[in-house]
């Protein structure tokens, strides 16, 4: 017997930890780690809401499944871009990446 609020609170902690990391990190790879944390929190929320409030259907379940697949693809492409940037500029810090700016 677990109340739904406690799982939602755990997921909210994960979400806002990710937001804090997104604001404070400098390295683009660390920013991506924070984004993964946020995506994971939303996945957990979808699964919990589907399990506890909508027991007849499986919409949240499949949304979580496809969300995991899409975030895997997203991080693969993002890491390819990071490695390419590192090869060109020898730096992946977010402040230094201003070549495309003006």
């Amino acid at each position: 017997m677990i109340q739904i609020e406690y799982i939602l609170i755990v997921s909210a902690v994960m979400m806002f930890a990710g937001i804090f990391g997104f604001f404070t990190r400098r390295s683009t790879l660390a920013i991506l780690l924070s984004i993964e944390l946020m995506l994971n929190a939303t996945d957990l929320n979808f699964a919990v809401i589907n399990r506890l409030m909508h027991t007849g259907g499986h919409e949240g379940y499949f949304f979580t499944l496809f969300s995991i697949a899409i975030s895997a693809a997203e991080s693969a492409v993002a890491i390819a871009i990071m490695i390419n940037i590192y090869r060109q500029l020898k730096d992946t810090t977010a402040d230094k990446l201003s070549k495309l700016k003006w």
Binding site: V13, A17, R51, A80, I83
Partner: protein
């Protein structure tokens, strides 16, 4: 307080501690390791809810695939030199304040939304079995998910091509 509750408390402690440590630790390699434990704790949470296939997917794709990819990327670039302390102290304090205020708002909404009656009990076979999952995933019925399934397969193919195109040596 039965074993189910004890398991939940352990998993919640792991998730909360490692997700906070992911964003405050100084070394990015340690951040990736803590993220690994946060993702494994989430997989355990799926198992606890009876969504065993989802937990297995989470373990394989996130913990097994994405974290390894991140570790390789950190080691290939100079990401190991990342330090959180390059920020000014006021910016970190403002970010922490913003996150705490947002968390307080969300917690207030959750606790006043009258979810008290919703409890999760130990799962049985009726929650989600593999035959329901397979039928839903590969059927064209109104509750079937064949179209997003195929769309994801095309997306993954596009990502493979894009990854090779972007990261190849010229």
């Amino acid at each position: 307080m039965d074993s189910y509750n004890i398991m939940f408390v352990v998993l919640a402690g792991i998730i909360v501690a490692s997700s906070v440590l992911t964003v405050v630790t100084r070394s990015i390699m340690r951040a990736a390791t803590y993220l690994f434990f946060a993702l494994l704790g989430t997989a355990g949470m799926y198992f606890l809810m009876g969504y065993t296939f989802l937990g297995a997917v989470q373990t394989m794709v996130y913990a097994g695939g994405i974290i390894v990819l991140y570790v390789f990327a950190i080691l290939l670039t100079r990401g190991t030199k990342d330090r959180i302390s390059e920020n000014t102290r006021s910016k970190i304090a403002l970010s922490a304040l913003l996150s705490l205020v947002g968390f307080g708002l969300v917690a207030f909404i959750i606790f006043t939304a009258n979810l008290r009656a919703q409890v999760i009990t130990a799962p049985d076979e009726s929650v989600m079995n593999m035959s329901t999952l397979g039928r839903n995933l590969l059927s064209t019925d109104p509750d079937g998910y064949l179209l997003p399934f195929e769309a994801v397969s095309v997306l993954l193919l596009a990502c493979i091509v894009a990854g090779v195109m972007i990261a190849r040596k010229r």
